[in-house]
Symmetry: none
């Protein structure tokens, strides 16, 4: 009784994305993802070799998208508020992931991904702030990037209905820090 399913890859991506983003890695079972897509568990394994990799694949794809969008803002010479708005909206779409990036994972793949992520964020923030004199050390800058991400994730989770206020809050924070 196999049936052909339209856009199954995309459906898996979206379901996995939604579930991991909402509930985090541990609270999402492969069965749950399969049910959400409306397919059998085994079918998942035709597209992703295991749960870890499903997670990574969705995450990687997500980060790619995120940076492509952020880069557009930079190229438009957007200011802090525009930048934070975009970052906020992207993070909104991927709560659970950004969280997972922030988490202290020992998995080699995850570490590599995090390093890349921080690097990209740094590059972008530098572009945004290139007209300002950055007087902080590289180490402290990494800490600040983490901070910005953390705050965004947290506000999204905690005050999901206050988009405008949250963005203002974070923008002020960033401007104050990169004064």
């Amino acid at each position: 009784m196999p049936k052909i399913i339209d856009n199954i890859e995309e459906k898996i991506f979206k379901a996995a994305f939604k579930l991991f983003a909402e509930k985090g890695y541990n609270s999402v079972s492969m069965k749950l993802v399969a049910e959400d897509v409306g397919i059998a568990v085994g079918t998942l394994y035709n597209y992703h070799p295991n749960k870890q990799q499903l997670f990574f694949n969705v995450l990687k794809q997500n980060i790619k998208q995120m940076f492509s969008i952020l880069n557009q803002v930079i190229e438009r010479e957007g200011n802090t508020v525009e930048f934070i708005t975009t970052l906020y909206d992207q993070a909104m779409r991927s709560r659970g992931f950004t969280e997972e990036i922030i988490k202290n994972s020992k998995k080699q793949q995850m570490i590599a991904l995090k390093v890349d992520f921080i690097k990209m964020m740094k590059a972008i923030i530098h572009k945004v702030n290139e007209r300002k004199k950055l007087t902080i050390s590289a180490k402290n800058e990494e800490k600040l990037i983490r901070l910005v991400l953390l705050v965004i994730i947290d506000l999204i989770k905690e005050f999901p209905d206050e988009r405008e206020e949250n963005i203002t809050f974070i923008s002020n924070l960033v401007d104050r820090i990169y004064k």
Copy 2:
């Protein structure tokens, strides 16, 4: 074979605390806690109805302790650095917990605990800053408190060997915000 155990409640608390703080909720099994205490699994269930509740109970107790210690700093008229140092060291002792506080749990109990936690933090910060004029709204203040906690937890996890630098970083941040 049953044996009388001295201070069993306290022993459970300490062991559960240590383990949850070190490893986080999911990586600690009831068997592990029981073994660490030196009792049978069943005995744990005489004192805490299930794993969730054990976690909450220990967490509640931990927060109580934390505030009692922070209050002492306030009463000594400690400054920001002293306050952050204490907070940092307390958070250090309870990594796993604070992480769980930050996580977006839907459990009613957890939410209530978080509200209390923020309330207490607010009270303390007000005392620290009562000599300064606070010009931020109550809402934004709550956000700032969350931010400070988040940053502390994150730095502890990510740069565990840089205690001094981390404390300086956070203190500067706080002073800049509550300028």
Copy 3:
């Protein structure tokens, strides 16, 4: 997308043979066979109703080939060493199968195959030994045939690099038995 495949039956035979011989029944999946042939899994099922039957079919075919080759030795009036050498080399080509023959399968088909196999071996051995007086009972002869096969399979598996020694060993054994 469907393509016409030349000699598909033969290709399936060869691939299945190679894989089962190398890896044994359990370690070969239908997908693996299909990939090795360069066809789709479904196509396999057009030629063999299921995995068991594929195995049997290939096995039967293999045994046929084997006897045809052994018969040539007999017709050439080969001696024990020549006969064992041929048998050894054939078994070498089909390790996985011979093992399965030896295994105690309850499947009716397998049993029938085994009976045939022994019968053919008997016929051949009788030819080899027709100049000697066989003084053993039919039953014991069957046991001896099984023994010879077993030993060949075992030596191939256990001491695969000692072809010459193995053949000598077995030939001596046979000569001693059919003294």
Copy 4:
């Protein structure tokens, strides 16, 4: 609804023994063992950390018993027939295992076990034959030991109702080889 089960270790041993001996490693599932014992699957894991280890544990225990019994024959100065009879009856009890010993496993534990097994067999056969002059090489002797075991296993499987004849057959074989 836990219930206390009498002699559970022994029951697991016996069930695992029976099933592995009958069906071989791959055809026995943990569920099957549990059902045969009349316990839950999880309970198995209180006694053996995983399936591999369950198998090894039962196997090791079995080999121990086997050698202890064979040694008694040796000490009684039993002749070939007595020795083979005992070996035969032991192997009868443990078909699947002896088979597994003969199998070409890559697992380190299994290899070690096999080396030990062959060594013990060698020692025992030497005792049995000490009055005869052994003129075969060590390597060939190993091959002969394997042969004897193989034949025993095979005859048990193939002609289970002909105990007497099988034993006579094997004894004759051994005497002829170690002539």
